[in-house]
Symmetry: C2
Subunit: 251 residues, 2 copies
DNA sequence: CGATAATTTGAGACGTTTCAAAGCGGGTGG
DNA sequence: CCACCCGCTTTGAAACGTCTCAAATTATCG
């Protein structure tokens, strides 16, 4: 990790509104198409279940979706969070079945676009296509980043990384204020994301707290006080991470 | 995991040649284009380094590539293997930089196709596009499967799963014989893939051996003797896994 | 205000890593 | 063709980190 100027504000690394506001920039017809297919989900609702037929793409317009997968013994891993403006296609190689489960983590609005329609949109709307291509690259980069830590890091690093990733993504959509943001997660769910037990998530959060890196308020309002120390713990280079996982954030 | 007919042969679940032989089915022009851009790599060669500019897609024509990522302290995670017929684009959200490292695990031939050319191919060759779309879905499903085990499983399950995944993918390209196949990996590298130390990979392999599930010969010639027991250990439903991660394997 | 879920903390069990040393195997040069 | 060397595998023993179980505390919601 290269040395960085620690005096520069958080804003320089976590700039707001860097994500191209793709909806709205295409014609109003797209907006109508999406509105027509948007479903309201309440917290905890299962949008799609594992192994269920679901040849569609899900586009989150508000709220959070968890992409999760379970072992026969009930252990659950959250593989990805879908934030507003992002989309996910859970279709497996057979083109029919979903290989994951999609759950609303809070009250949400999600547009459901069947594969055929989506292909047509991709063909007809070059701006949308470019935007989704960037988002897809970002998603790949995030997954690699997480697998690295899932496989090779201890609890502190995993939690620190998760917080940084979420903070960056939230900042990109203008959902943070000075390193403070809300995530609609229980410690249990943060554990399912980081591959830790909820008990150990709690201990780790507490430790970060004691070190003065973060504070948390009611049910996961997170305040990052020392982003740079947190980044060191997460073994992350903020500039590189942002370049890799935030669309339109090119240095 | 639902009960299965254990008397049916391995072949019924791990059918050969299910992958659409996309190259050759498009016109000879594509073949020429690929040949022109194919580079020979010797074992251990680094094709792309992390953070290096690389706006291209890499298509493996023969050999194996590892997609890997490292922590500052040197810990390494292999995020994906690219087998013959598969491709990978390591470009991050900025459209320029690679977020991973690409390494040849054995002597290989890889076609390097810059992003622009690739986009053109995708536009012009619907068969290729469909095929790559299936392969991409399979890759997403595999990653989810692995993250689940990376986060929530013990060593035995992780190793068993890795062996099964590799066996299935090898079978799909006709590179196995009766559950026997060769992987160009050291135990160290299998550890980097499964998130284990090489020492523990060794112990785990030995244990599977003692249980009569597998045998190994010189440098990773793997023989799966009891696929169903191995699948139970891996906590995997073979039929579902194949449907999810093998293109063209729809039940 | 009571019921229920989520967080917090402690103590012990368990699985994996680390360190260290020995054994094997393949390749090279004598 | 053998001797040597180097890298990979194998095994043991101790240290470490995380999980599990259990109980106390704190939030949340009707």
């Amino acid at each position: 990790m290269s040395p960085r100027d620690r005096s520069s504000g958080i804003a320089s690394l976590l700039v707001k509104d860097v994500r191209p506001p793709w909806d709205g920039q295409e014609d109003a017809q797209l907006e109508r198409l999406l509105s027509d297919r948007t479903r309201a989900l309440s917290k905890g609702a299962l949008l799609v279940m594992e192994s269920e037929a679901s040849p569609a793409r899900y586009l989150v317009r508000s709220g959070w979706l968890a992409v999760a997968k379970s072992l026969p013994d009930g252990e659950r891993q959250i593989v990805e969070f879908i934030l507003p403006g992002e989309s996910y296609d859970p279709t497996a190689a057979d083109g029919q079945t979903s290989f994951v489960e999609l759950e609303a983590l809070c009250d949400s609005n999600v547009a459901v676009i069947d594969t055929t329609t989506w292909s047509r949109l991709m063909k007809d709307l070059p701006d949308l296509r470019r935007c989704e291509s960037q988002l897809a690259k970002a998603a790949w980069a995030r997954q690699a980043e997480r697998m690295l830590r899932l496989g090779k890091s201890d609890a502190e690093t995993r939690v620190a990384y998760a917080l940084i990733e979420l903070c960056m993504r939230m900042t990109a959509i203008g959902a943070t204020e000075d390193g403070a943001f809300h995530v609609p997660l229980s410690q249990q769910q943060l554990g399912e994301f980081t591959g830790l037990s909820s008990v150990h998530v709690c201990r780790t959060l507490r430790r970060l707290n004691r070190q003065g890196l973060i504070t948390t308020e009611d049910h996961m309002d997170i305040n990052i006080h020392d982003l740079y120390a947190l980044a060191d713990l997460a073994e992350v280079d903020l500039t590189m991470l942002r370049r890799d996982i935030i669309p339109g954030a090119a240095a």
